[in-house]
């Protein structure tokens, strides 16, 4: 909790900073902030890429299915922390990781496909 509060505080500071420093600075800051909060995993050739993704707490991870075959993104724990619907080609699934930990997951249709999100 404390960490997310301090990130929020940092965000406020960034916004204030942007207001002070002109437009070029502003867009640069905004993209830096965006990078911190969202990450992509691509599903391609029956595999998750990257297989292991390490992100800060509060990050939203978006999976995109680029295969011609449907896949799912399902955490291996019980009860499931996250479970996507079936993703057809180019469909996406997002989940925001609000707690630190290691989150192994797999495709419930093709269980040989596994991946991991490490939240720090």
């Amino acid at each position: 909790m404390r960490r997310s509060v301090s990130i929020a505080g940092l965000g406020v500071a960034l916004v204030l900073g942007m207001l002070c420093f002109g437009t070029s600075q502003k867009s640069h800051m905004a993209s830096a902030q965006e990078k911190m909060s969202t990450m992509e995993v691509k599903i391609d050739n029956f595999s998750f890429g990257p297989v292991t993704l390490t992100v800060p707490v509060g990050t939203t991870v978006t999976w995109t299915n680029r295969d011609d075959i449907p896949h799912t993104v399902v955490s291996t724990d019980e009860p499931k922390t996250f479970k996507s619907k079936v993703l057809d080609t180019d469909e996406k699934f997002s989940f925001t990781f609000s707690k630190a930990g290691t989150y192994p997951y797999f495709c419930s249709i093709h269980p040989k496909m596994t991946g991991k999100v490490i939240v720090q």
Binding site: N45, D68, D88, S108, P111, K112
Partner: protein
């Protein structure tokens, strides 16, 4: 990771401008079925495309049926933009057989995304087939999002638990198994404890001379575990069938025909009526293969099985749609 990766030719080994993905897309056209003839207790499976080359004598047995598989209704990618058309072509082949098969088996992946309209379309197309009875087992594509509820409502009314069942035809005992539910991370197909117990009980009282035909979606033998082409606990299932002199296992899932004999057990996989997949390990992944349109039907199939009562043999032969 590059955005362009999908459209690049990454492994053009044959310098023909077709990479693995491209090839997979083409191959997706492939798929028909198999004509199965039971002769003397031994099942022969013939690709439907080869049936025209067979003599009537070869096709006659105590019992014949057709196996179709992996229709993937709803699939519309370049590998086969017309899966309804190729399924219809399979039905035409079945209807063209000189000896009408008694019934059909569908070994799963009827639909691509478990959508009601996909199942409806397949039902509609199969209505025009001469054999009226169709016995189904689910593929993983048929049980998406609802743990198989819809599949069971449509096709599993008389089945047990997760959809398994057995029936007898002309002295042959048929067992439909379900190995696409509750799949575990990193694992293969799974039958599970309840189903295995049921199977043990189901075959316990049969004479060892009874020919057994087991059908399930994912292969019950280890075709290529790296791609998930196998079933975790199939050894236990096969152990219950050890006493029988003739056991035939019919599977789908891998979209290509493959046969193997192991002791008293003959394993067959049928082609898809929708699209082909690469041979084990011959591509980066088991995704759909794109083949030139004119070749597609030659890699799609139906399996027709013929059984001859009295003697003891079963033979399965696969034919393509071409």
């Amino acid at each position: 990771m590059s955005e362009k990766k999908k459209d690049e030719i990454i492994h053009d080994h044959n310098h023909d401008g077709i990479d693995r993905r491209g090839f997979l897309k083409c191959m997706a056209w492939a798929g028909t079925g198999a004509f199965c003839v039971m002769k003397g207790g031994v099942l022969s499976s013939y690709s439907l495309s080869r049936v025209s080359e067979m003599s009537t004598a070869e096709m006659m047995g105590e019992l014949s049926f057709v196996q179709i598989s992996d229709s993937h209704m709803g699939f519309n990618k370049p590998a086969n933009p017309d899966v309804a058309g190729t399924l219809k072509a399979a039905v035409d082949k079945i209807n063209g057989l000189s000896a009408a098969p008694e019934f059909m088996l569908h070994t799963g992946d009827i639909s691509h995304l478990s959508k009601p309209e996909e199942f409806d379309t397949v039902d509609q197309i199969l209505k025009s087939a001469k054999p009226k009875d169709v016995f189904y087992v689910p593929g993983e594509h048929d049980v998406l999002n609802d743990d198989g509820k819809q599949f069971l409502e449509r096709y599993g009314k008389s089945s047990k638990g997760g959809g398994w069942y057995s029936f007898d035809k002309k002295g042959v005992h048929f067992v439909g198994l379900v190995n696409v539910m509750n799949l575990k991370a990193g694992g293969l197909g799974t039958l599970g404890h309840d189903q295995l117990e049921w199977l043990e009980d189901d075959v316990k009282h049969l004479k060892s001379s009874t020919p057994i035909v087991v059908f399930a979606h994912i292969p019950l033998w280890s075709v290529y575990p790296e791609w998930g082409w196998g079933t975790e606990d199939s050894a236990q299932a096969l152990a219950y069938l050890k006493k029988f002199g003739s056991v035939t296992v019919l599977n789908g899932h891998i979209h290509q025909t493959m046969q193997k004999v192991e002791g008293n057990v003959t394993f067959h996989t049928a082609a898809s009526t929708a699209f082909p997949q690469p041979a084990p390990g011959k591509a980066d992944s088991p995704g759909p293969m794109k083949v030139p349109a004119e070749q597609l039907k030659s890699v799609l199939g139906i399996t027709d099985v013929n059984y001859v009562q009295g003697k003891h043999a079963l033979a399965v032969v696969d034919s393509s749609l071409a």
